[in-house]
Symmetry: C2
Subunit: 403 residues, 2 copies
Amino acid sequence: MKATGLIVEYNPFHNGHMYHIEESKKATDADCIIAVMSGSFLQRGEPAIIDKYHRTKAAIKSGIDIVLELPYVYAVQNSDIFAHGAVHILNEIGVSSICFGSESGNISPFLSSYETFKNNENIYNLALKQVLADGKSFPEASRAAYEQINLTTKEIDLAKPNNILGFSYVRAILDNELPIDPITIKRTKNNYHDESITSNIASATSIRKLLIEHNELSATVKQTIPKETVIQLQSYNRMASFWHTWELYFPILHYRAMTMPLEELGMIHGIDEGLEHRIKRTAKQATSFQQWVTLIKTKRYTWTRIQRLFVHLLTNTKKSEITSIIDQPSVPYVRVLGLTNTGKNYLNMKKKKMEVPIFSNIKRDAPLMLRIEERASNAYYSILPPEARIQAIKQEYKGPIIH
Amino acid sequence: MKATGLIVEYNPFHNGHMYHIEESKKATDADCIIAVMSGSFLQRGEPAIIDKYHRTKAAIKSGIDIVLELPYVYAVQNSDIFAHGAVHILNEIGVSSICFGSESGNISPFLSSYETFKNNENIYNLALKQVLADGKSFPEASRAAYEQINLTTKEIDLAKPNNILGFSYVRAILDNELPIDPITIKRTKNNYHDESITSNIASATSIRKLLIEHNELSATVKQTIPKETVIQLQSYNRMASFWHTWELYFPILHYRAMTMPLEELGMIHGIDEGLEHRIKRTAKQATSFQQWVTLIKTKRYTWTRIQRLFVHLLTNTKKSEITSIIDQPSVPYVRVLGLTNTGKNYLNMKKKKMEVPIFSNIKRDAPLMLRIEERASNAYYSILPPEARIQAIKQEYKGPIIH
């Protein structure tokens, strides 16, 4: 059996994701489609709109054969660490290719860009360091560093966020000499950050915006998502009585900052360069999440970076915990959130050859990475009504979702 | 000018407290009545029903000349530490007597009991240690130890909570050879823990119960409290939209326990003997504060003890912080929350002779004890609506309340 891997967030699963699955099948001729998906919190430092279990259900009923969890320690990070975690998980599970969307749908410019990159890696690293030291944000600095080695004017423009992410996957595969083919398919027209919906393919951002604004599933939203996503969104909202947004966490997040000594705040992952002082100072005035981030934001500290460090504050994740894990050459386990019969056959065939254990639920004496995951989920569910919270958390200790 | 000191919580200030002030004036012939009062959280491990500023206003308009803050590190503790802090603050401010209520209203049995106690202190300490090791609670153990040296059958019965507290004051004064007269007046008939109201003197417990049940001031409650307390209770409820109860803190408290590793939980003051495991385990089922405490409670871990450690968890107070302060022979400062003109004259006269600074508001570079206080207040106010919270917290940085 041949498997291809997708790296996803499914927040929520929509028609564009469906298209991605279909095109990946065509491009790779795979028998099994494996998605590695962010869990409770997402790469841009946000809580997922519905939990990972409901997102997993939507995915395995819409074409994915196995959903693996992208662990928290990789998921809420910049694109390099995110890619490192995702690619290594797919490698441990034995995919022969990874298929991602890009503007051109052509892999060769990614490969030639990688050549250029490797030949100029020292210049890139030096430029990155300098621009960061000048007070620029990480995305700006990496763009400037790519420019320095002419990677923004070559066949793929590495100033574009989607290309940066794709290039991170290619780098993670080639840097580690993994036996995986990087493959890319052409993205449909919707733009990652588009906020308006004009067809049956819309960005997840625009879909979330509509969902949150009305706390209900409008006809406009329904035309952009498969039926199974409708069911899962409704089912989650019935349990929780809402879809997750940052504002719902504001009281707890704010309480945390107001009751932590500066030294303790400075131990949280992402709170660097004395940012704890700025967080403390602005906390005194903040009356909402949006307003608080606006008060902290500067050129150097982007909205995304602040959101990410707020996730780590909410989940009580310390620098020391994260670095001890992500500095490892690969991942300590692979966690299955859900699978189809095809997925099950694939796993049965692969599991004896795997070098790391497969987990589904959280057991006693779980490794640190899984304990951090558990804490992140506890934080994620903390805003639910008590009875719903108990039910939701129980999912972590059950087997995978089977379709 | 002659001052007498009262040790109080005023949760809320009621007619019995009024009586205490009048009788103390008669018994001591003092020109100035100084109360040292618990702040945001109380000795039995509960949030105060309204904040310390509103309680201070009620007190200085009803006969108290100076309200001093009993710092958090002493306030939420067993009777010995509570008494140690309160007595030392009153000593620093120069009172010539401390006047407390007791069943008999006669000081001599307290003094003779102290004699007996000192002559048998080793036996007492040994008995205390043994009974604690047998798995009994602190109140039970100290009762048993007093029994061992016959202090429960002498003139005052040291098995009674009120007598234990009074005896702690006497011990703190005499152990430290402070130039303070311990004086006691006869308590009115209401019992500390009484829950029903039958006259215009009722226990604070029964008053709180009625207030919380209906979230309004009934005629029954009004007959038991001075007019100024009515005004302050109403004013606070208008701002916060509630009176504080533990249940309102349950989501935040629960979130804390669910996102702390065991080792971190074990660093919190009051979480001893592996209790962190029990807290974590029960947290998974808990749907309310009351239910959670019930799940944790055992013979050894009394309701009060659990409430106290939950306060420390809520305020993020660590063992190391507390012990570094309460092991000191006296207090590092005295904080004035409010005062009358008489109080002001008294302070002007005394302040040059004082050995520790007088603070009112929290300033930059505040000592650790005051920073812990600030954190406790931040935690206390965390459940308020954002705008009200900002206003409430500002009080900490203003001068004292003047009447």
